[in-house]
Symmetry: C2
Subunit: 205 residues, 2 copies
């Protein structure tokens, strides 16, 4: 239920064509709500059908011609409604944590390299956010809109900081485990294995 509202926000900030939106989703908005161009075109169609946006009049016809959209009053009202309505936090879904947990059962083979790769990616993302911060939020601006957007950016910075720190620690643990490491993996995929590998968390009642 969020993609249309992400698009409405982006269009209110600046009327755009589908491709422009796609590019902006690769930069700013997409940092916390990503979308592919297929999703965006599909959603633009729906939003137009619902009367929330309209194509800017510029006598452009069919395929291959760019088409810009702007938000209509009904769209703005819908966005305001959605923003004000309470919403529960959505549950996390993180494959990397899942793989780590799986590795406690089937072995850590291959994982370390990918942790390193992720660490690098998160460091780059962090650097990118900090560059944006330097550029767009110099000390002393405090229009409410700037404060709100700065707050969002700080969430991104703090999240990436968390990941880099956590991955550092994870890698340190991997190194400490050293030889004692569970490198089993497919080695005994013959299934004669123990099923005693219960995870502690499940011990709860």
């Amino acid at each position: 239920m969020s993609l249309p509202h992400a698009i409405l926000t982006a269009l209110l900030e600046k009327p755009s064509s589908g491709l422009e939106l796609t590019r902006r989703f690769d930069r700013s908005i997409g940092y916390f709500w990503s979308a592919t161009h297929q999703q965006i075109y599909r959603e633009l169609g729906r939003l137009e059908a619902e009367g929330h946006i309209r194509a800017l009049p510029a006598e452009q016809p069919a395929r291959g011609q760019r088409k810009s959209y702007e938000v209509l009053p009904a769209g703005r009202a819908e966005l305001a409604r959605w923003t004000a309505a309470p919403q529960d936090p959505r549950p996390h879904r993180d494959p990397l944590l899942l793989r780590l947990r799986a590795s406690a059962v089937v072995g850590t083979a291959g994982l370390r390299e990918d942790l390193l790769r992720h660490l690098d990616l998160h460091r780059r993302q962090l650097a990118e956010y900090e560059e944006i911060r330097r550029r767009d939020f110099p000390p002393g601006r405090d229009a409410p809109e700037d404060r709100l957007r700065h707050l969002v950016l700080r969430a991104g910075i703090d999240l990436e900081t968390f990941w880099t720190q956590w991955l550092d620690r994870a890698l340190a643990e991997f190194d400490e485990m050293g030889e004692a490491q569970v490198t089993d993996g497919a080695g005994r995929a013959d299934g004669a294995g123990d099923t005693s590998a219960r995870a502690p968390e499940d011990s709860a009642s």
Copy 2:
């Protein structure tokens, strides 16, 4: 591509029926890969069809009868393969950050209460994780599997810590903005509004 692997991990830790899995997904595994019972039953069916798991023989017939599953060698091998294979981090999707950004354009009405509510929810989750940590990871255990699972738990703890801190700060900002607050919202949904509300991040290139 992760749900089947989450289920394989859970079943390796302990063979279970669909409902038992559902409950465990509400507790431990589900903290970083949630799933409803419908998803779980659908996926159990597929995993069985693929020969990755099998129902434990216990002459239980049709509907309404519990059916336990265990992982077969092929399933364990598939899990090991998946765990070792590199995977890119998936992009974030966070409606709350989106709403905050939208509020820079359509007003902050209603948001503060929901931030408070989220703060409360994250504090509770944090307390729950710390309770699990006290119970299951007393100092001095260092079997590799425990270390790996502890690492995962710490990611949960650190993430919830991040959210509580960030929400604290966000609420402080809201209070500072005070009267100057953008409480507009539907107030001028007549659409005569400014479209000059460009977000700084978009100024790139």
